[in-house]
Amino acid sequence: MKEGGKLSLFREWQLAVPLALAFAALFLAPLLLLVGVSFYNDEKITQPGFASWLKFYGDPFNYKVIGDTLLLGAKTVCTTVLIGYPLALVYLDLSARLQKVLLFVIVMPLLLSVVVRTFAWIVVLGREGVVNSVLMGLGVISEPLKLLQTELGLVISLTQIEMPLMLLPLISVMSRLDPNLRDASAALGASRWRTLFTVIVPLSMPGLIAGCLLVFASSTTAFISQTVIGGVRLIYLPLVIWQQSLVVYHWPLAAVASLSLVVSVLSVVAALSWAGRRSGGYVNG
């Protein structure tokens, strides 16, 4: 690469310069500015100071909001693992042809607009929606259940909306596992449960953690789903950011809230990926 063709001044890395410039102007500069704006006290952005940070973190309500946001991510991760992991296991046992079909089914929702997927859950969870009309038709309930505007309904919806993000890395790692390992474990008399927990789960840990990471990051920031399905009584950080920036127009406070979102979500993500690297090392070593 050093000789780099005929032009003596040309180096291959210079091809990345246009993108780097675009990133500096359109990505880094706005984010740095956002950090700067958070250190202003007033809506008009004239008095520098720490008042916005103090105001945001002086209010116990905001701690609850941050906690609820992270908790929502954790709950969604749990449900996607609970039903996504078995699906990945089943995927491994399928024929190549069926695997292709299933992969298509999994990827399909990912290409479908989040707005469409959210809308689908309104139809499913509504008072006169699918779940209620089926349950009432079967006589299981006499009064419609309240599912929209509840955290339960939101977690169910996010489970579907985020599922592909869990399954893709999981399937990617699992299908690289040596099938002989499972057979060997079975031949040695281990039950399928034992094989699952002593062989498959540890070996698929990197994929599982990658999936958790993506689902967590995506569900904690899923503004549309959170507001449309959760309603305004369930307050998460994205709603606070939206209200402060596009309803109240207090940009310094909105900046504080969104930086808090970045820091809290990314620190969980970083912790998870650290754990992922450790477990990867443990398995390989």
């Binding site: 063709g5 005929k6 291959e12 890395w13 091809l15 990345a16 246009p18 993108l19 780097a20 675009a22 990133f23 359109l26 990505f27 500069a29 706005p30 984010l31 500015l33 956002l34 704006v37 078995p86 699906l87 296991l89 089943v90 292709k100 299933l102 992969l103 298509f104 999994i106 990827v107 399909m108 929702p109 290409l111 479908l112 607009s113 707005v115 469409v116 309104i122 139809v123 499913v124 006169e128 929606g129 699918v130 009309s133 169910i156 489970t159 579907q160 599922m163 990617s172 449960w193 990051a217 503004f223 549309i224 449309v228 950011i241 939206w242 940009w251 900046a255 969104s258 970045v262 990314l266």
Partner: protein
Amino acid sequence: MGRRRSFGDVSYGLLIGGLALLAVTIIVAPVVIVLMTSFTEGQALKFPPKGFSLGWYEQLFDPVKSRQIHKTAGNSLWIAAFSTLFGVVLATLAALGLGRSRSRLARVADSLFMSPLVLPGITFGLAALVYFSLLGFRPSIELMIAGHLIVTMPFILRTTTASLSQLDPALLDSSQSLGASWLYTLRRVTLPLIAPGIAAGAFLAFMASIDNVPVSLFLSNARTDTLPIRMWGMMESTLDVRVAAVSGVLIAAAFVLMLIMEWTVGLTRRMRD
């Protein structure tokens, strides 16, 4: 293996199979249900839908009644097309520049370029709004393209870098040792080989732009509104059944596009790997 099926194995099959079935149902059912409701005769989104009619689709394609939806769909396509086009050029160049470099700086640059994928979209959207407003720009389609470029480009960079790393270096070396210039090698050897990777990334970026909410939410105005923002507005206020019809069209489009991409560039394989 002629082992007797123990209780443990049966419970394994039932539980794992049951949960997997639940997962498939949860993934597929809402999509099917939206499709079904979009053919309702009624005014409201109820299930089971009342009767069968194409009325909502007729309304959706009516140029007068649904002018706003058509316009926002046009905006979405326009923004997605241009942000993808610029993304393809910038990301392919960057991938060629950094893809085979092992230097520390190249790694840092690569993770920087990928970071919009992890950064909460709403944070970047707000940052872009504050930035452009303080610079004195009015909302415009160009700003929307710029914003979408940042958040969708990583998809192209990822697939392009991946297909570059699968290239046999010996191939390039032999081309150059035969006296071909760098540019000639690029045009005749490298690009044709990585084109499916670029195309897969471009497709993902295009779809991500069409789907984007956080950036559009902050950067758009009434003239540059995109389809998802408009649909969100309809969902939030009047809850028109046309939302179901739009969804039906988008479902069909995503389905067809995915089939095409699967046949031409093996999309799911690339997403899995």
